[in-house]
Amino acid sequence: MQFTHFIQQSISLFAPLKKGLAYLDPGTGSFLLQLLLATSLGALFLIKTFWKRIKDFFRRLFSRNKEEGQADNVPPNNEKQ
């Protein structure tokens, strides 16, 4: 998911909520608790996702460097002979 997409989704949605056909009662307290937790859990999730991306980026960068480094260390075929 793109960052802008995340931001778009993070912005409060103002259209009224339609009642689904759910057969379970979510429970008033449970329902409101989710809304209470929503902002912080959403923010945590964003941070986690982007932190993972940053880590992956450096990991890839590092492994590429390492590969290149290894390639540099490989002696040319003629030297082996």
Partner: protein, 473 residues
């Protein structure tokens, strides 16, 4: 496993019965006809069912072994007025319940539910329930058996099943991890999961320092209590929750479950399984006897009663026999399940069961969840090193024991452990011996009422004898 709450109760018709656990959700219901299990999908669920099938979610989950596979079948519906389709799900050989699972089984069922929810969200759908009873162990892993659990995800809506997930999974797992693993048995009392105020009261204070448990259990319980008798403004109930927050909730629940752990070591039973009085020769001979009996009867399914960590159960499951390995000790069942995972065993389901008080029928009409006896009979049963526990520790007269086994199985592989055996002597050490019939003759006489003794072999290097019996016609 749930279904029609419409006024039309699926009638007997040409079917044998509508599944009694399947009544809550109006999306459809399970029924059996001529011994085969079917699920009616109702018109009200049409668009969700089509989306499940057409979005690729069904094929993705079924291929990954996370959702039970099914086939659309062309047979008359059970309640034609409501019906959209009839499907035939792959049959699960043994239905088990969360109060019969070890810690890791419940944890894996929870993680599987969340993994399914994440996959569903990627395809624009969401789980409308998160019942632990919708998960079964099949082919060595947890699988969702309710095809009708999915609904289209409506952007902005909180997770309807959040409370159910906390009650069915998070609360029992936290109690098992932080207080005592035996608290899983609370699920037997509270069929819709452990009430969060109870879980909050039972959990130690330090769990309030754990952010996830503080939020999903303690704060959750407090919020439920606060709003239990309050009228909430309509506007509050129409507030929306972004998809990122929704994903954040699922992600947070997932890491909360991941962090909960329980180790079988250090329990009071910890040493029990190394403390047998078998010499290596006796153990080897007993395995040989059991193997030869299994080879002779070659059943398609077997229950091993008192299976410990499943050493003898594997003699059956490794021959391709579908085996349920019951034991009273949650530590043994946990070790057994972990061994199954490690060697990717597909034919073995370890479960917690106390045979002095096996699972009863519970729920609405006492018919929602079946008793152990309601899930019998099985083609073959094994009871090795079990009879003395039931007959002496629990005072069950031998003819009663024989009747019990005759009700659950046709073939019986059973070990008799006489009073001269050190294990029985240990049981009798602190009590009066009121068991004059507890000897080989009395045992054979009692079981002879219901069974024909096909063969019996003395276990070398021990006082014990293993019998192969067949129930009399």
């Amino acid at each position: 496993m749930k279904s029609s709450n419409s006024l039309e109760i699926p009638s007997a018709g040409s079917s044998d019965s509508a599944e009694s656990s399947s009544f809550r959700d109006p999306s459809g219901f399970l029924f059996t006809r001529h011994g085969s299990l079917y699920r009616q999908v109702n018109q009200t669920y049409r668009s969700d069912y089509d989306r499940l099938m057409e979005s690729g979610l069904y094929s993705e989950l079924a291929a990954a072994g996370r959702l039970v596979a099914h086939q659309a079948v062309d047979i008359p519906a059970e309640v034609p007025d409501l019906a959209y389709r009839v499907i035939q799900p792959e049959r699960i050989p043994f239905i088990s319940y969360p109060y019969e699972w070890s810690f890791s089984q419940l944890k894996d069922a929870a993680l599987s539910t969340l993994a399914i929810q994440k996959a569903a969200l990627e395809k624009g759908m969401s789980l409308k329930d998160a019942s632990a009873y919708n998960i079964q162990f099949h082919g060595g892993r947890p699988i969702l058996i309710d095809t009708l659990s999915f609904e289209g995800y409506r952007e902005g809506e909180p997770w309807t099943a959040y409370r159910q997930f906390c009650q069915h999974f998070l609360a029992p797992l936290a109690l098992m991890a932080y207080v005592d693993v035996r608290l899983s048995q609370l699920l037997r009392v509270y069929i819709d999961g452990i009430p969060l105020d109870l879980a909050s009261k039972l959990l130690p204070r330090r769990t309030r320092m754990n952010l996830s448990l503080a939020a999903h259990i303690h704060l959750h319980a407090a919020t439920q209590q606060r709003y239990s008798n309050k009228t909430v403004a309509r506007a509050d109930l129409q507030r929306r929750m972004s998809k990122v927050a929704f994903l954040g909730l699922i992600d947070n629940l997932e890491s909360s479950v991941h962090r909960l752990s329980w180790k079988p070591a250090g329990t009071e039973w910890g040493e029990y399984y190394t403390d047998t009085n078998y010499t290596p020769a006796a153990l080897e001979h007993k395995m040989k006897i059991v193997s030869s009996f299994l080879e002779r009867i070659n059943p398609s399914s077997l229950w091993d009663l008192g299976a410990n960590t499943g050493l003898f159960s594997r003699l059956a499951s490794e021959r391709g026999i579908f085996t349920v390995a019951f034991d009273i000790d949650p530590a043994a069942v946990e070790l057994n399940y972990r061994a199954c995972l490690q060697s990717r065993e597909k034919n073995l389901v370890p479960l917690v069961m106390d045979f002095t008080n096996p699972s009863p029928s519970i729920g609405w009409h006492n018919r929602e969840r079946h008793s152990l006896m309601g899930r019998a009979p099985v083609e073959a049963a094994m009871a090795l090193a079990l009879v003395h526990h039931l007959a002496i520790s629990n005072n069950v007269p031998l003819p009663h024991l024989a009747r019990f086994f005759a009700e659950i199985t046709r073939w019986l592989i059973i070990e008799f452990v006489p009073k001269t055996d050190s294990q029985v002597q240990r049981l009798l050490a602190t009590r009066a011996d009121i068991f004059p019939d507890y000897q080989f003759g009395g045992f054979e006489k009692a079981f002879g009422i219901y069974f024909r003794i096909v063969e019996s072999v003395d276990v070398q290097d021990s006082q014990r004898r293993v019998y192969l019996m067949e129930r009399s016609a």
